[in-house]
Symmetry: C4
Subunit: 371 residues, 4 copies
């Protein structure tokens, strides 16, 4: 264990024996300090949207398909021109030092080991360059929380581009922090510095609450910002935090190269729909003009299948990976991806889908169940 500013970071490095990802949460809770755990797992207000995010996958059902003459499903895919061994990617997730001393570096190692895609967060505990190096050539994206200070944005984008990231994910759904009760209950202050913030005039994020951090971020974000970032970086810009066809069209109109359907894991607007429940209408509007990434609530291989069948090209998740990181470092992250891939592979076989492209064309039922 590593103790930083009185905060006990895990330094586990081991493969995990995973029954399922929900069970992993209970294990992780035992080793992540209360404040950090509350920050990671909590949603906003009474967690209604957070809870529905996962329950909403029950709103669609996979149609088993037999006599399909298929075997050995293939999980590889190509999105944004990048070859991936799995359609499941690491969502950009802040402050992974709360879970593990190696933070995002270990996450990058674990994701690379499974041939997946890693997204770094602006609020990473580690620096862009270090985490890119830890990924050892595996594809990475960089997520930007836009600062009010445009020169700071440019310095981050410069560093990301230099580190070789393939795309910029611009988060647009966090122009103010959601009302996160766990952080209030725990009076949570970040004990671990955020490496990228050392260039901020205001400091490095250590000892600040989430509201302080957001205070430096831009509240006012619009289509022009998408254009400006795309022009500045000449990298594809993916707009993250889309929950309606209207927003997707506005983003594409502003030059977005990808749409990231997410409600920030239920951490922002509580009382909005489950992210999965709006995916189909957005995918219909986007109509394959650009790829769609989906996150919020994904815990099972069947969830990944349903999201792909409902219109996603990539499916991201964050919390379960962080739990794996806490429990096993880079190998723990790898175990989490291997587990969800294993569940997905079984579902693909039983649904008669040999490729991710097949999954994207698989039918879903919408029978109403009570729980």
């Amino acid at each position: 264990m590593t103790v930083v500013n009185g905060y006990e970071q895990s330094d586990n490095e081991k493969k995990l024996d995973i029954l399922n990802l929900p069970a992993l949460e209970d294990e992780a809770k035992k080793i992540i300090p209360t404040g950090g755990y509350g920050y990671i797992f909590g949603g906003s207000e009474d967690d209604w949207t957070l809870k529905q995010n996962t329950l909403a996958f029950e709103h669609a059902q996979i149609v088993p398909k037999a006599l399909s003459d298929i075997e050995k499903p293939d999980l590889s895919t190509n999105v944004f021109g990048i070859d991936l061994k799995t359609p499941v990617m690491m969502a950009p997730t802040a402050a992974q030092g709360l879970a593990h001393a190696q933070g995002e570096d270990d996450t990058a190692r674990g994701v690379a080991a499974v041939g997946g895609l890693m997204a770094q967060s602006t609020y990473s505990s580690t620096s862009i360059a270090d985490t890119a190096a830890a990924g050892n050539g595996a594809p990475q994206f960089f997520q930007l929380y836009m600062s009010k200070d445009w020169s700071f944005n440019e310095s981050l984008l410069d560093e990301a581009k230099k580190a070789g990231v393939k795309a910029i994910i611009l988060t647009v759904d966090a122009t103010v922090d959601g009302y996160r009760e766990q952080d209030i209950i725990n009076n949570f202050q970040f004990p671990i510095p955020m490496a990228n913030l050392t260039k901020f005039s205001e400091g490095d994020g250590k000892g600040k609450g989430i509201a302080d951090i957001y205070a430096s971020a831009a509240q006012k974000i619009g289509p022009d910002d998408v254009r400006r970032i795309a022009e500045y970086t000449d990298l594809p810009v993916i707009v993250k935090g889309v929950q309606s066809p209207e927003d997707a069209m506005r983003a594409i109109g502003a030059g977005a190269a990808g749409i990231y359907v997410s409600n920030h894991g239920g951490r922002q607007l509580n009382g909005g729909p489950a992210s999965f429940d709006v995916l189909e209408s957005i995918a219909k509007a986007v109509n394959h003009q650009v790829p769609i990434i989906f996150d919020s609530g994904v815990r099972r291989g069947s969830h990944v299948f349903k999201a792909l069948a409902a219109g996603a090209d990539l499916v991201a998740f964050g919390r379960p990976v962080i739990y794996g990181l806490a429990l096993g470092g880079a190998q723990g992250v790898q175990s989490v991806f291997e587990h969800i891939d294993h569940e997905l592979e079984i579902i693909m076989q039983l649904a008669g889908t040999k490729t991710i492209e097949d999954v994207k064309h698989a039918p879903l039922l919408h029978i109403h169940y009570n729980d």
Copy 2:
């Protein structure tokens, strides 16, 4: 603590550290005597409508909106020609002396401090004039429980007009008291006099049950009563207790200057719909002919947003304010309003709505969730 007729009234005066309003109820329960608390929080019969009032907000979902180029949402609004700093108003609520020794006077002070709107109840523990004075020039409405004795109604209206109230709220959904089991269980009698009833021939309300109080009230109320009160006072008359488009149209036809959609917080007709579930159809029928006030079940900023988006111009609540009153007097009331405004402001930012007018035009989804 102040003890009146053996009843222990809080005399707290302090700002409150509020996590959320549902949590406030638990705190308030500890300091309000059982009978008073039962009277305040209880509904009718088995509380089904009471419970659905709050759950019904889950029947609509807010659409997060990004790339909206907005920041610093503005909660101010103008309704009935009155400038308000918040669209959240204090519902007319009886017998606040049950919660605090200063009763409605402290509520009026707290509401004034946030630039909100206060509605006095006929059954106030304090007098119209005193509470108006406590409000110190802030806008107030007066709610009338019509008496069988018309001269008594006139004397109340006279006093209200003299005190400068901006409108009369005529409650029409309480022509008999709902079957309130908490009051029966507690054999509840009002221990605190109701100041406005000292002019009743029957007494001041002290030591009477709710059924006794209502016995003096008119059971027979119709459109002519709306007209009569409007003519007598020459003030806008808002009809409170509307739950159907038909009633709204009947009220407007009788000269109502406003419609107050409410089911009396689930205290009257149990087995009727949640108040929020009928709001949209009423707003459609009213079609902006007069402003709409909404109450029943509001506990979150997201509820306020949803009610405004569904057609309300003002959103009222009562119980949470009473809990704040018990816990902190005028400052407690102020804390409650500041808290719900804070939640609302976050939602407004995340829904891309800069003004209350924007909120009124925001879309709502109606996805069915199981809980």
Copy 3:
């Protein structure tokens, strides 16, 4: 207490202080012996239909109506040419000696005291003549479980007619006994004789299980039986146990003078719909050709209101009356009726309905709630 064949019968005679009827069940459970209580409250199989019977009232909501200019609602009605002071009647219910030493005689006294309508069961603990006499001139119906032995049927009908009953209720939904698990768990045998069965060759019902009792009853019942009974008695025949428009039409075609919508309180076909959920479609088909009686699940004044608004002319209930009988004899029965009438009167006032005829024309909403 009266002990018969080792079975302890209540002999309470007192007014009851009733909070609500569901709470009465808990009280009654304490004084009715286990076997008897299980027989009374239990349904069939896993009680799904029994449970839905009451929950289904949440499938419709009453529309509060204000500005209606009404007061003092009038619960009196006239059905089958009989003047009644309440639209709530006593359902035919077997073996009331299980609950009280005076059995149906006390029930008849209590019902008469409120100006209501009493239905005697074939399987009464008391005789037709005695119970009719106890009713002291108040209106009564006689319910027939048709025997395979037609001469027995005739003797019962003769006795009923002689006793002055106004109509015959022919139960058609019990051609075999439902699978009642409570009776199996308790290995229940009737400890109290059934007075009307003393004329059976097989005995008086004492010491028999429910299956034995039914074994003497006719399994094969058809339209011709309705005709035969109507012709034999020259009394109106009401067909009880109707759950579909088709059955209602078949009954009317066979000369039924009334339709009794009931699923036997969830004691027969488990897995069928809640009785309330089929009422509207049946009422539409019947289209006022004959009156409709409704039962199954009624526990609240709001339930009575909803059933009348959905098409019933009379609303019956059984179990709550039996509980009142156990706890207070004739006065207990009276208290139960007075209580539900009190709840109904409040609902009528708040729904702006002055008469039972108004209630029958009141609108219902059908918003879907989760619980």
Copy 4:
């Protein structure tokens, strides 16, 4: 008790006193060793589909029918040209030695005693010939898990045909094993040999996990396999594991003589619909071209009725029979069938259906209930 490889097998032989089949599960849990019990009752992933399989029967309601002039319902039927005394058959279920020392032989005896239909599983603890002999001339089917080794398939089919089975059930929904968490939790290995696997080159199944067993099975199954088996055996081939009209049509196009609607009791694709919820659409598509067998979730007589009314010609179940086998051997199996037949007979009488053909034409309602 018989102990094999340290595994304690029941050797009970007695009639059972059954209250209902869900209650039987609790009893069986006490005597079946943990690993075996987990294998039998468990589903895949979080058991969502498993749970919905039974709850889904609440999605349809039986219409009680009175005045039907019927009595003594007749449960006999003829399907695939076979006369049966009950429409409830034994589903093919693996490794019944986990529940009882006599395994499938006792099951066959019990099924024969009620005049039902027995389906043997490829993975039986007993041999095809022995179990056929135990059935003593009663009709049996043989279920095939297709091996990658076609000569092995032929040897099994030869043996089955020699043993006189009337049809081959080809399971097509298990081309990979579902993600069964109970088996992982228990680290379950089969302690009892599977008699038919002794011809496998890989061994007899003893000491292997479910994944090992499946590894020998064919993953790639298509329409040609149906044709090949039908041609090879000249027996009717029933395709088991159909959950969509498309699969049913594909199977019939390939020569299937019957469609077996099943989701493998929730043991395979979790996140798919409840089996009952897809039955009607499949039956509509099949349109009586071939008979339909249904299983997954059946626990009550009312479930059997609903499945028949929704389009099934035969209704199968497995787990409850295995529990009866554990508790009472052949007589226990007989008791289970007698019990569900008893429940079914009551439902048939109360629904006014005299024959299984009547049941197949009975209407179902589809009212939405919350639980």
